[in-house]
């Protein structure tokens, strides 16, 4: 009756924890599945999606909206899964993609750097120096990506309900903690929180459809099916956007009312 997002670095045992939590609670476990789902849904080769979430946006990306679009797809795909509740998502930024939904338990799993280096050396057959360098670069890239897109540092513990350091605590300990936390009342889905989840999914659906239609630099919110599309464009272009947005009311089920807003700052909860 909850959604659990597990943010993890590479070689931090996060995947293992997630799968164990999933099997203990009988929840679906999703990670790269989401990306694959998105890929089927939007006909985007998986490689590009992986790149989108991994490398920090470079200067070039300011001119092409590639990564921005792919993120919209990923968020939409994740939200689509999360609507069904009882989900464990592990990977980067799950907690950021599902913001504003009350019954999401946000967990971060970190591991001791030395242990991660050892694990990487073993799996990839690298030298200690190489493995350490690769891990640090990977960490830095993920950090940069999150900062770039959401303006927050993934290492900021205040973003999570639970940060578990796998070192003294084992994977099973972590699973125990997470399962216990997930059973707390505040993480149980209620009609109100489920409504918020559905609104988020709807907003993501609208945004993905808009992005696919080359409408970038938009933010979408939904409240009880009343969808608001925010744009920073001027009035004249917003009229054009309006023309593109209106047909969505018929195409996407669940939209009660749809409006385009200009000259208004994007609300923080918008996707």
């Amino acid at each position: 009756m909850a959604i659990i997002t597990i943010s993890r670095g590479s070689y931090s045992k996060g995947r293992e924890v997630a799968e164990k939590v999933g099997s203990r609670l009988g929840y679906a476990v999703v990670s790269r599945d989401v990306l694959l789902g998105a890929s089927e849904q939007f006909h985007i080769p998986e490689v590009k999606l992986v790149r989108a979430i991994h490398d920090a946006p470079s200067i070039l990306d300011r001119f092409s909206h590639g990564r921005y679009c792919y993120l919209a797809y990923i968020q939409s795909a994740l939200a689509e899964r999360a609507v069904n509740d009882n989900l464990v998502y592990h990977g980067l930024a799950g907690h950021l993609l599902l913001k504003g939904v009350p019954h999401v338990l946000k967990v971060r799993i970190i591991a001791d750097l030395e242990a991660r280096v050892a694990a990487e050396m073993k799996r990839e057959g690298l030298s200690q120096g190489q493995a350490r360098e690769l891990l640090l670069r990977d960490d830095a890239e993920r950090r940069k990506w999150t900062q770039n897109l959401y303006g927050v540092d993934p290492w900021d513990a205040s973003l999570y309900d639970l940060v578990i350091h796998i070192n003294q605590l084992t994977v099973d300990d972590a699973v125990d903690f997470i399962v216990q936390a997930a059973s707390r009342e505040c993480f149980q889905s209620t009609p109100e929180s489920q409504q918020k989840m559905e609104d988020l999914a709807l907003a993501c659906r609208v945004k993905a459809a808009l992005v696919k239609d080359d409408c970038v630099d938009v933010a979408v919110t939904s409240q009880f099916g009343n969808v608001m599309v925010y744009t920073k464009q001027g009035d004249r272009r917003s009229h054009r956007l309006e023309d593109r947005v209106k047909p969505l009311v018929k195409r996407i089920p669940g939209i009660n009312h749809l409006e385009v807003r200009t000259g208004q700052p994007f609300p923080p909860e918008a996707c």
Binding site: N226, E242, E259, P267
Partner: protein, 602 residues
């Protein structure tokens, strides 16, 4: 046979200039009338006293008084109460409203002066047009014409017919009875109304040709906005509405269903108008929301709230005279620019409810509170007129719809009614001159504070006053110089001896032309002796010839010179061309029907 003099030619030139200016509209019609008022004494065609005698004439003073009485009735909501039953009977179809009101007006005007009947209905018609969003130009002309035609139904309906028996007395002809003209009159009224019902679309302005004008588009847009906003609905929450759930607030209903709660009951029976967003909605209470039908029905279904047929509990509070919807535009340099409606908090400060924001062709209904306002944004607000007036006074919003209904004084309705009755009794029972009776009523209303003297002055339409006042000296000049007599003699001599029906038709035509320029009384006084002599010479019934004059002097539709047409020209936003178009059709039908009826019946 009078001789053609220079003065006669001059008068005909002046008439020609007046008609020409009416047609080309280089000057507005009332300015043309003032031009006549000034030029005629300069040319020594009338004395200076005669030139301005029009302003003090019975007709003009009556019009001034009756407009004031009408304003008083409107201000006190009496008109509203009259309009209600009319609309219930007539429905909302334009044709049926036209038929119904036209028949009523014709009925009234058959016993009293046309102008009185027409003026009394003016506020009612204006209100119907506003309420039902029918262009007023579609309603006023048919009703005005019916008021004129109604004057032909009885022998006391219009001044020419009242005079007729007196004018025939010297010839020792048998006088007409009160209802002798009724069959002809009824046929004329019926044919006049039929003209508008069948051809109204083509002959009335504001029809097909005008649909693409900016004004029409604006109207359409306005209607569209109102469609999007929906209408008020009254609902009752069930007894278990608040059981086992979080409190439902006004704001929540608005966010969830896009409906605006504009009034609700706080138990036990405290009525709140323009509730604050955090106002809770209790169990078993009545409330009124503004919203689109689909949204309101969805809310009623999902929340289990019972939807009523119409307004019941809040019928009084939300009646037209107490509250309404206005469009307020954010003024340049207004303190509201850049602020959101949440920051401005109109609901808390003024107890008015913003229903929608209209910006550059887009209507915003959702999350209005977060929308930063810009110069030129139109906010649709619902509230009581009193509250809206307070907001108006603050000056940050420009109201595009005047708040006239705000000054309603329903508590004075009784006085308004009494003074109207006094005026009517004086007219009908004591046979005192119309202008004196009506002025008494108007004065009574002012003294009993139904309306202030300033409001009375503002209500008077000076266009009408000067249009009528200025044309009266033209009529005087035409008669005084003998022009009218000369024309009548010339025409009647020219036709010689003809079939009776042709003679009657020519007399009718002549009377029609005369009544357009000189007053109908003047035309009657001039023509009756002439045509009686003509008819005797041609062995036609002289009574019929006199009756033709009496009736055809009411056939004044082509120019806005008849009092009723002059009165309706301003409020109906008519141009001379509109009268020519519709008037010529009705005039021709009038002549044909009148001649045929007289020929068949007598």
């Amino acid at each position: 046979m009078p001789q053609l003099t220079a003065d006669m030619i001059l008068v005909m030139v002046m008439i020609g200039i007046a008609v020409f200016l009416f047609i080309v509209e280089w000057l507005r019609v009332d300015v043309v009338a003032i031009l006549m008022m000034v030029t005629l004494p300069l040319l020594h065609l009338v004395t200076p006293a005669e030139a301005f005698s029009g302003l003090s004439s019975n007709a003009v003073v009556s019009i001034i008084a009756v407009i004031i009485i009408g304003a008083g009735l409107d201000r006190t909501g009496v008109v509203n109460r009259l309009v209600g039953p009319i609309l219930r009977v007539a429905g909302s179809s334009q044709s049926r409203i036209v038929i119904f009101i036209s028949l009523t007006v014709a009925g009234i005007s058959s016993f009293m002066q046309n102008i009185g009947a027409a003026a009394l209905f003016l506020p009612a018609v204006q209100r119907i047009s506003k309420n039902l969003k029918i262009p007023i130009s579609k309603l006023l002309m048919p009703i005005g014409f019916s008021a004129i035609l109604g004057g032909t139904v009885t022998l006391v309906g219009s001044s020419p017919l009242i005079l007729l028996n007196d004018l025939m007395a010297p010839f020792k002809l048998k006088p007409f009875g009160l209802f002798d003209v009724t069959p002809v009159g009824l046929a004329l009224v019926a044919s006049g109304i039929a003209c508008f019902v069948f051809f109204g679309r083509f002959i009335l302005p504001g029809g097909k040709g005008e649909e693409h004008s900016p004004a029409a588009e604006e109207r359409q847009e306005e209607n569209q906005v109102m469609d999007e906003l929906g209408r008020p609905w009254e609902l009752t929450t069930p007894q278990d509405f608040t059981h086992y759930r979080e409190p439902v607030t006004v704001d929540e209903l608005r966010r969830r269903y896009l409906v605006n709660v504009v009034a609700l009951v706080e138990p036990p029976d405290f009525k709140i108008l323009g509730p604050a967003p955090d106002q809770e909605i209790r169990s078993g209470v009545d409330m009124v929301v503004y919203g689109q039908e689909k949204d309101v029905r969805r809310m009623a279904q999902e929340e289990g709230i019972a939807l009523k047929e119409g307004l019941e509990v809040f019928k009084g509070e939300l009646a037209e005279h107490a509250s309404g919807t206005v469009e307020a535009v954010v003024a340049p340099r207004s303190s509201l620019v850049g602020k959101t409606l949440n920051q401005v908090d109109l609901a808390e400060r003024f107890q008015v409810t913003p229903l929608a924001v209209y910006r550059q062709g887009i209507t915003y209904r959702a999350e209005l509170g977060q929308l930063p306002l810009r110069v030129g944004d139109a906010i649709l607000l619902h509230g009581t007129w009193k509250r809206l007036e307070l907001l108006h006074g603050e000056g940050s919003l420009l109201f595009t719809t005047p708040l006239d209904a705000e000054q309603l004084r329903p508590e004075k309705a009784l006085f308004a009614g009494i003074w109207l009755a006094v005026a009517l009794i004086m007219v009908i029972v004591f046979k005192i001159q119309l202008s004196v009776c009506l002025m008494t009523g108007a004065l009574g209303m002012i003294i009993t504070r139904v309306l202030t003297i300033d409001e009375a002055y503002q209500a008077v339409d000076w266009r009408t006053v000067f249009l009528l006042g200025g044309l009266i000296p033209l009529g005087i000049a035409t008669e005084k110089t003998g022009t009218a007599a000369w024309i009548a003699h010339t025409v009647l001599n020219a036709i010689g001896t003809v079939e009776p029906i042709v003679l009657l038709a020519v007399i009718g035509l002549l009377a029609t032309v005369f009544t357009l320029v000189i007053s109908n009384v003047g035309a009657t006084v001039l023509l009756v002796p002439l045509v009686v002599n003509m008819a005797l010479a041609a062995h036609t019934d002289p009574r019929m010839a006199a009756l033709v004059v009496g009736l055809a002097t009411s056939n004044s539709f082509i120019l806005p010179t008849h009092q009723v047409n002059a009165l309706y020209m301003g409020p109906g936003r008519y141009r001379s061309v509109d009268f020519m178009k519709a008037g010529s059709v009705v005039s021709i039908v009038f002549l044909v029907v009148m001649t045929a009826m007289l020929y068949l019946f007598y």
